[in-house]
Assembly symmetry: C2
Homo-oligomer: 366 residues x 2
Amino acid sequence: MEKRQLIDPWGETAIEDYEKLFADFGIRPLKPLIPLIPSPPSFIRRGVIFGHRDLELILSAIKEKKDFAVMSGIKPTGDFHLGALLTAREIVYFQKLGGFGVYCIADIEAYEDNDIPYEESERIAVDNVADVLALGFDPKRGYIYRQSKETRVKDLAFLFGRGVTLATITAIYGERHMGLYMSALVQAGDIMLPQLPDFGGPKPTLVPVGVDQDPHIRFTRDLAQKFHAKYGFYTPSATYHRIVKGLDGSPKMSKRNPMGYFTLAEDLESIKAKLIQAFTGGRATVKEQRELGGEPERCPIYDLNMFYFMEDDDKVVELYINCKNGNLLCGDCKLRTAKVVLGFVKDHQRKRVQNLDKAREILGVN
Amino acid sequence: MEKRQLIDPWGETAIEDYEKLFADFGIRPLKPLIPLIPSPPSFIRRGVIFGHRDLELILSAIKEKKDFAVMSGIKPTGDFHLGALLTAREIVYFQKLGGFGVYCIADIEAYEDNDIPYEESERIAVDNVADVLALGFDPKRGYIYRQSKETRVKDLAFLFGRGVTLATITAIYGERHMGLYMSALVQAGDIMLPQLPDFGGPKPTLVPVGVDQDPHIRFTRDLAQKFHAKYGFYTPSATYHRIVKGLDGSPKMSKRNPMGYFTLAEDLESIKAKLIQAFTGGRATVKEQRELGGEPERCPIYDLNMFYFMEDDDKVVELYINCKNGNLLCGDCKLRTAKVVLGFVKDHQRKRVQNLDKAREILGVN
């Protein structure tokens, strides 16, 4: 076990936790497809994206230079977080490979699920769109919109409503109010939007998501199949990325604990403080760590490097080995990580400000 | 009992069936308000409209010359039927008293509930709108629209979604697919549309319906109250009309049996044949009828006269008495009724054709 981990800096052991997804839900491992993916970015090379459904459809379209789309979005409840960073990078990557990029500001969901009124989410949306532009999204080869302003996704929700029984919706979402169910149907509409005639009609469409979002994907795939005969929809494809651990050591980075996450809009000193205070895969004492080595598999600081911020694979391997063999202590590692993270965030924040006007223009906001 | 019916040509005994609605659901009898209603039309004088909720709000607005609205609509699944005729007459009446008239073509409901695609309901909608114009709806003092094209009612549906639990929606509509529930929310949006800022903001709004539609009314009233604090909505008022019997003697005129109903677009000979073959309140033999008299209370032919087609109250009383005392036999009565009905329908059909272009213009259909 130790040995295997030593030669597995991409954390394949962690993926073992996901193996039941392959068996139980039909998500398929990405690994066999990696050789077919043109210049795979780090999040593909390192298994951060570990699974998929029907990605072959997208890879064929790329190879044959046929139309395809890549779509994702963000719920405008706050600043851009790391999960959104990953999906944004995936969209930008597939957009560069020829995909039509669609980015949705899920403000209906923010209202239904979080009771955030549109006036408030509008302000957040401007920031979110500036973020995605700063990350390289090309609006000339894509489309960015708010659900509340996009009649076509709302109309798809009404279209799909007839295809969803009470049993189906409660099985996926539990017993919630009607608005939550409606926002699930709107989300299915978001995913199918790129296949409408206004966007050139049916085409393979890739939806990059965190693996916890798979129920939405299955829900939408079922609807695409139900309405295929009439509308010719392709069943949407998906990729699944691993869930990044919270800085507080929780299994999923979330907003519940402010010390457990940071956003791309956050004050640099605040981010640094959180990184320095983060939970790690280190041992109880320096002596112990020198002897036993650290445990990068359980370390959110390692995850940050491996998932997001360390470009060079060799350097990640080096970090992994130095942690495992006890050469690198957590204090040092945190400082090095903070330097890389803050460098990225600082640069990103500069670009984000440059994109605010463009974001307002895209959203039609003054 | 016989005696009471003899002096009650407006069928108050039939209203007794509705008395539990007063007790159980809080619908209130219209009768005490009739003296306050300016030049009450036959359907009010005769108790065809027998109940209401908060009609006082509307009567005050009329008296004080304040803004109010009157709204109803039709599901575009076929030609204009008699229930639609009654609500159209109510709208026209209250529009003449100063109300802003709103008429909704419920094409989302036609899709969700009856699987009629918009392309098909569009064609039907043109006819329906021509009908309502022919009946005197004044588009200069009102608004006619299709749900599928009216973003504001769809957005109200999304707004209201947060206020409706699964328990509420299943209690009213049973276990149905999501689309049916969504169309119920859209219908709540239809009713609240006249209170949006685009229409001058919150105002008393009257919804004339058949008494079987009361669950929708209560559902919408609850939502108006839930969202009152934020939007200032008035709780909508309603009037309830009695349910017209089927020509086949069934308790409710419906499309299930083609011989049981007719539409305003129907061929005159076909209507005549249905009237001649209709079930009546007559006796088994002429002798019996001469002796016992007919039973207008159970007679759909009497209903047609009393509800819709006989303008003069004295003539209805005369008809009632002549039936009850056995002077008038069903054959004669049917012929007389057919003459009145066909006269009206013929005239209406002429007016409807004249209004087709206007209807197309209003709906934006070529």
